[in-house]
Symmetry: C2
Subunit: 119 residues, 2 copies
């Protein structure tokens, strides 16, 4: 069946959450937001493209930092309201220079830092 | 450092997205929403608990279906606006009876079903 990105469910701001997972290690690297055009750009170019809510502009991941995300697989969920992209991540996905944005773990009420910034 | 769930960033509806990842296979199984109390319940009980936007009530995953999610690790991201829970999932995570909600893949404009409902 042909995929129509317009069939996805966007929120009141026209956005849908997109989870980026390392295609190789399967680590979850980050979550950001896409709008309709960001999805189209991602699928057309193979470069994962988000919508930056703070800058209100397209965000071709790694365009300035070099920490690009090459699309390996594009998936969406049963409710059509969340996207999962499997990617090849160059360098750190996180703006703190860590491989993943999910570097803080909580156990018994205490926070632990799971990884250090990449050098 | 002590973790204060109130330090997380909730949206205008008091919600924060939570990604559930299989602690063993590392498959991403679903994404749902938590509010402050759902987070507290999840951490206190070890049973992953969401906030159902459609029912406007707590949703202790698997409470009626038996398809529970036992918390293995609770993480949050660099912006404190997304949660990642690593879990032991009993049976299917998806209401369609599939292991993961992300069973549709898009390639060259065509959709592919990656997995069938569990029996």
């Amino acid at each position: 069946m042909a995929f129509d990105p317009k069939s996805l469910k966007f929120d009141d701001n026209g956005l849908i959450p997109a989870i980026a997972q390392d295609a190789e290690s399967k680590d979850v690297l980050m979550m950001a937001w896409m709008n309709l055009q960001a999805i189209e750009k991602t699928l057309e170019t193979g470069k994962v493209t988000y919508w930056s809510r703070s800058r209100q502009s397209f965000w071709v991941k790694g365009e300035t930092s070099g920490h690009t995300q090459e699309l390996v697989d594009f998936r969406y969920d049963c409710d059509s309201d969340c996207i999962l992209v499997l990617i090849n991540q160059v360098g750190p996905a996180c703006h703190t220079n860590r491989r993943s944005c999910f570097y803080t773990s909580v156990k018994d009420g205490q926070e632990t830092e799971l990884m250090k910034p990449m050098s």
